[in-house]
């Protein structure tokens, strides 16, 4: 589903993603683990067509992120690390706006929006201008916006940011169900518990390179550690 070949992205002299090869299969939850500034967000933005690669290639379900950017966006739902929203639109107006941008007719959009609002516990907030949303509500709205149209893939940058433990649990089960239904999730996190709980495979990213890749058990074995947290620290260095 998500494929990168020698993917490279630079910001001036800084190489944010350095010749990365990656193959995320359909129906799996794939986690990118890394410290701040490791290159996870840049990689995800390239898959979302928000950044153009400087070298190599990236495809989503066979569609090239540069040549077929609109097709790629139609396949995916995205939650950025700090989702800013249209603060003067209500939640309902915002979701209808996004449905229109995706070409979903109003009669088909209504039940999809209602389902997403129920799933993400946003029913009462839909009539509220998003200026009034708390951090957690914004995150839930961004998750609803990324998923309501039933995409083939999800790109989630730190999706548990701002969520309370109860909702984090709901999100974890949703992601497992989404993958079980054939969807593919590419998520980044620096919380190893989340990766252990939901990811089929993980890649540890450090200074723009993938330094370990496999199931959680395989990565632990590669690092010679007994849990993912210790494996992560051993792979990227630190105390």
């Amino acid at each position: 589903m998500f494929r990168a070949a020698q993917l490279t992205k630079r910001y001036g002299d800084v190489v944010a993603v350095d010749a990365v090869d990656l193959d995320v299969r359909s129906g799996e939850v794939f986690g990118l683990l890394g410290s701040n500034g490791a290159g996870k967000t840049t990689m995800m933005k390239v898959f979302m067509t928000l950044l153009r690669p400087d070298g190599g290639s990236a495809t989503v379900d066979g569609a090239d992120v540069v040549r077929d950017s609109l097709a790629v966006r139609a396949l995916l739902g995205y939650v950025p690390e700090n989702p800013s929203l249209y603060e003067k639109l209500t939640g309902l107006e915002f979701l209808r706006f996004l449905a229109a941008l995706r070409g979903i007719p109003k009669d088909r959009a209504a039940p999809l929006i209602a389902d997403a609002a129920k799933l993400f516990r946003l029913d009462r907030e839909l009539e509220l201008e998003m200026d009034a949303y708390s951090r957690g509500m914004r995150q839930k709205m961004a998750l609803a916006a990324a998923t309501f149209h039933r995409p083939k893939g999800l790109v989630l940058d730190e999706p548990t940011n701002g969520l309370d433990p109860r909702f984090t649990k709901i999100l974890k089960s949703y992601l497992r169900e989404f993958a079980a239904g054939g969807g593919t999730v590419l998520l980044s996190t620096h919380i190893t518990d989340v990766a252990e709980a939901v990811c089929d495979r993980v890649a540890v990213v450090h200074e723009g390179r993938v330094v370990a890749l496999g199931t959680v058990g395989e990565v632990e074995a590669q690092a010679g550690a007994s849990n993912l947290e210790d494996a992560f620290v051993a792979l990227v260095g630190g105390p």
Binding site: K45, M48, T49, L50, L51, R52, L70, A71, R73, A74, L76, Y78, P80, N82, P83, S84, L85, Y86, E87, K88, L89, T90, L92, E93, R96, F97, L98, A100, L101, R102, G103, P105, E127, L128, E129, M130, D131, A132, Y133, A145
Partner: protein
């Protein structure tokens, strides 16, 4: 001391943002310096010329009038600056949560507004002194220079206070606050304009009013939290959401609707409508006060009011079409990911942004262009010509803003996408030249042959529309290449 800390951080942040933009566009800074000096020179030349040929006897422009105009213009600028810098920013929460008096926060923010605006005034006055020293025959008494500084300080302080009062939670509180402050503005008007003071008297009046205006900043500081809360909080909207406009293309309709709802709910539309109505009222007032331009040479007399209307068209189009066009992309700031991660081409995004801006054109025609010519009984052909050149200028100036805003979007959160002062100044002058050509050519042709003049105006309006299409397409290409 704490106010100074706020001021120092704000100025440092602002100066670095401007420096970064200058580094990106060095030619813009050079143009700014040249155009700024040129404007000061032109203003002095105009004053010199006016002193020689005189004005119509009914049109009395005294030094007090000029000082009041400076006060009134900076009042508007101060209100806009205060709104973006002191009332609207989310980052204000960091300052409001510090163990410090709210007066220090307000004062620090106000000092920042003051510093950036006084820097322009200092440059203008310095250049004026140089030009006068070089031989221009314009009297520049010290009372006028000092009065100008006081008028700007009082104007900015009044604008700051009015921005806070106008942002309060309920209409009743807004009205009460604005009514409480109105006597200060009335006092400035009486002291500078209606009492026809001498220059020393005007200076003395400003010396008395400025501390009152500054006290207004401190007095409204305890309302800053309420204003900030009100401006950054949302309200509940029950019922079925409906689009403001029905369009055949559903994506375009959704994009235009999101733009319009945001503009309406942020009160930008109300502010724009108020601005064009006030501008139209000012033109009508000028006609009522001055009457027919009897004192002017005959060849100028017939052109006097058409030129006044043309100036109104320029001001309305530059402020209400060019500036929003420039901020069309920049105002997306951190939420650009929404549009860029959805399957919607840049062409549709830019058509929607341009359409939302152009919706104000009918208001400009009705409020600014029509009232004075109708009141003055202009012939139908002249009214038609003015309407056509207004449409042409609106298209051309909107196209200019859309093109420049896509070419160099400003993603600075302090200005919410609005261009910085240097860019704004350059653009206003570029818009002036463009408006002069777009309005001047058909009006010039009309002098020789009215039919040809009308046809020229239609042709230029067509070119203006083409400019809008090309600017939107160019903007779309830039948008598609933009990395988020």
């Amino acid at each position: 001391m704490r106010a100074y800390a706020v001021y120092a951080a704000e100025v440092l942040d602002g100066v670095r943002a401007v420096a970064a933009r200058i580094r990106r566009q060095r030619s813009g800074a050079v143009w700014f310096a040249l155009l700024f000096a040129g404007t000061v020179w032109l203003a002095l030349r105009l004053a010199e010329f006016t002193l020689v040929i005189g004005l119509p006897p009914t049109l009395e422009i005294t030094p007090g009038t000029l000082l009041f105009l400076a006060f009134f213009a900076t009042l508007g600028k101060g209100a806009v600056d205060a709104y973006h810098r002191a009332i609207r920013p989310d980052s204000l929460v960091f300052l409001l949560s510090q163990p410090m008096d709210r007066r220090a926060v307000a004062l620090g923010k106000f000092l920042t507004v003051l510093a950036f605006n006084l820097a322009f005034l200092a440059a203008a006055l310095g250049l004026a002194v140089l030009f006068v020293a070089a031989g221009m025959r314009v009297p520049l008494p010290w009372e006028f220079g000092a009065g100008l500084v006081l008028a700007v300080v009082a104007g900015l302080a009044s604008g700051f206070a009015l921005a806070v009062l106008g942002s309060l939670g309920t209409w009743r509180r807004k009205a009460a606050g604005l009514a409480a402050y109105a006597p200060v503005i009335a006092a400035v008007y009486v002291a500078l304009e209606s009492s026809d003071p001498t220059l020393p008297q005007a200076f003395a009046s400003l010396l008395a009013v400025t501390p009152v205006a500054l006290a207004g900043v401190l007095a409204t500081s305890h309302l800053l939290v309420e204003a900030w809360n009100n401006q950054t909080s949302g309200r509940r909207r029950t019922g079925e959401p409906r689009p403001y406009l029905r369009l055949r293309d559903a994506k375009l309709e959704a994009l235009v609707d999101a733009e319009l709802k945001t503009m309406v709910r942020k009160r930008q539309v109300a502010l724009s409508l108020a601005t064009v109505v006030v501008l139209g009222a000012a033109l009508v007032s000028l006609y009522v006060i001055v009457g027919p331009p009897v004192g002017l040479p005959r060849r100028f007399a017939g052109l006097f009011y058409p030129i006044v209307v043309a100036m109104g068209i320029y001001v309305a189009a530059a402020t209400q079409l060019t500036v929003p066009g420039m901020s069309a992309l920049g105002k997306e700031l951190d939420r650009l990911w929404i549009l860029k991660s959805h399957p919607v081409p840049g062409g549709t995004v830019y058509r929607a942004k341009t359409a939302a801006i152009l919706l104000l054109v009918p208001a400009i025609l009705v409020a600014v262009v029509l009232p004075l010519p109708v009141l003055a009984g202009f012939p139908l052909a002249v009214i038609s010509l003015l309407l056509l050149v207004a449409v042409a200028a609106s298209f051309a100036l909107a196209a200019l803003g859309v093109y420049l805003g896509a070419r160099s979007p400003n993603f600075d959160p302090n200005t919410q996408g609005l261009p910085d002062s240097i860019a704004l100044y350059n653009v206003f002058l570029a818009a002036l030249v463009l408006a002069f050509v777009v309005i001047g050519v058909p009006v010039g042709v009309y002098q020789f042959d009215p039919v040809l003049g009308i046809l020229a105006a239609i042709l230029i309006a067509d070119f203006g529309a083409l400019g809008v299409v090309l600017a939107a397409e160019g903007g779309a290409r830039r948008y598609d290449r933009l990395e988020s």
